[in-house]
């Protein structure tokens, strides 16, 4: 069961391969990887070929001058030239992997926290739309992500889109992403940051420009009203147990900033930054057994809630699409 859940979470979070790039920087990195892999394979064959030659084809003593040439040439000069070439190629690629901030780029702030991601889209009216553990990008348009961390060093990595960029407390680092095809791509923290480091994932939705605008508008809208009596009961439970002290749901009185914004939590692909899929049962799991699902997470488990309340709360949150 556990592995089935993990499989489904992996599917929900999206593509992860560095070798199947979906962004400009990742394409350059994949090129470099293939060159490195190709030249390493060639060197491997040459060394193995020479070993076979020396052991089987022409065993016995060899001409000393030629042997010395092989040792100095093949052991020192050639590797130096090859490494120099690889270094030059990767240094030449670096400015392309970290391009200057382009005009008209989408501006996004991303904060890495133990163990989730706070994402803010500045809106043209001056405010900001906050989401968590998920971000959307328009295909073919560069996006500038300003990365910060309030606690420890994290590292922002979406393998299919670009290389890693550290998020350092007290500093702002920048990464420019330019997706080249639509799809869902998995991002993760790439710098060990504590107990649940491995459960600090996010999904990047690369959308057509229209779909992106639609997504942003939906995420910027206030939460929808509870649809039925069960959801309304869930909203009341959310209020009564003080969930709003830590979580915000725009359009309600809940305006906490400690934990993730839950205004549209039902629309997200996973819960707890990739800890669980997003179904009503998963909400119950998350709320009642938080620390079993995600060890050391800041949120206290609410296992003492009556089952009815838990089910109502789950239905309410699941309905916040």
């Amino acid at each position: 069961m556990a592995s089935q859940t993990e499989d489904s979470i992996a599917t929900l979070l999206g593509e992860t391969s560095v070798l199947v790039p979906a962004g400009r920087s990742a394409e350059r990195i994949a090129d470099l990887s293939w060159w490195l892999f190709g030249s390493a394979t060639l060197i491997w064959f040459v060394v193995l070929g020479l070993s076979v030659y020396a052991a089987y084809v022409r065993p016995g003593a060899h001409d000393v001058a030629r042997v010395r040439l092989m040792i100095v040439g093949g052991g020192a000069v050639l590797p130096t030239i090859l490494l120099g070439g690889v270094l030059a190629y990767s240094l030449w690629l670096m400015p392309q992997v970290k391009p200057p901030i382009p005009e008209g780029a989408v501006e996004i702030e991303v904060e890495g926290l133990r163990w989730w991601w706070r994402v803010r889209y500045a809106s043209e009216e001056g405010g900001a739309t906050e989401v968590a553990n998920e971000l959307a990008l328009p295909v073919g348009r560069p996006a500038v992500l300003r990365l910060t961390s309030p606690d420890v060093i994290h590292s922002f990595w979406v393998p299919a889109l670009a290389g890693k960029t550290d998020m350092i407390p007290g500093r702002e680092t920048i990464i420019v992403l330019e997706p080249t095809r639509t799809g869902v791509f998995r991002g993760a923290c790439a710098e060990y940051c504590g107990t649940s480091h491995a459960l600090m994932n996010f999904a990047v939705l690369v959308l057509e420009p229209d779909a992106y605008e639609g997504w942003l508008a939906r995420q910027g809208a206030p939460a929808q009203e509870p649809e039925g009596p069960l959801e309304a009961r869930g909203a009341a439970v959310f209020r009564e147990y003080g969930c709003g002290a830590c979580h915000a749901i725009r359009g309600t009185q809940a305006n906490g900033v400690v934990g993730p914004d839950l205004t549209h939590v039902g629309s997200r692909r996973t819960l707890g930054a990739g800890a669980l899929p997003n179904t009503p049962e998963d909400y119950v799991d998350w709320i009642a057994r938080t620390h079993e699902v995600k060890p050391d997470a800041n949120m206290p488990p609410f296992g003492m809630l009556p089952d009815d309340d838990l089910a109502a709360l789950a239905a309410y949150l699941d309905g916040l699409t």
């Binding site: 130096t80 120099g84 270094l87 400015p95 200057p100």
Partner: protein, 138 residues
């Protein structure tokens, strides 16, 4: 064969080598220059970007300074390397120079110096290549 009849072992150590106090400090000299060049390059670039050019500024001025450091470092390492090679080539013995004689000690110290100088020479070029391809502080 009687050890004492080994022609290399019995090589006449000239008076100049017998009297000479060999120094080991030539061996780490070239790697020390490499380390100093590395440190100076990164400190210069860091100060340049933090205090002068700014986060997205041009690295131009710092690149010229680093070119200067690199020139000085390469010349110094080359001089050490040439000196090491001369010591290594003393007489007509070949490596590994592992006999307990004044002449072989002389050659061994020279050979180690030469090899480390060659490594340091390449390393300084590799360090300098960064600013050949990096034009800005970004």
């Amino acid at each position: 064969m009687d050890e004492r009849s080994d022609p290399i072992r019995n090589e006449d150590a000239p008076d100049e080598l017998q009297a000479r106090r060999e120094t080991m400090f030539m061996i780490p000299a070239a790697p020390a220059i490499w380390a100093a060049h590395f440190l100076a390059s990164y400190v210069t670039a860091a100060i340049w970007c933090a205090k002068i050019a700014g986060r997205d500024g041009s690295l131009e001025g710092a690149r010229w300074l680093l070119a200067g450091y690199t020139g000085v470092a390469l010349v110094a390492i080359a001089m050490i390397g040439v000196r090491g090679f001369r010591h290594h080539s003393y007489g007509d013995a070949t490596a590994p120079h592992d006999f307990d004689t004044a002449a072989d000690r002389h050659r061994f110290l020279g050979f180690s110096t030469f090899l480390l100088a060659a490594l340091s020479f390449v390393a300084v070029i590799f360090v300098a290549m960064v600013v050949v391809f990096t034009e800005t502080c970004r």
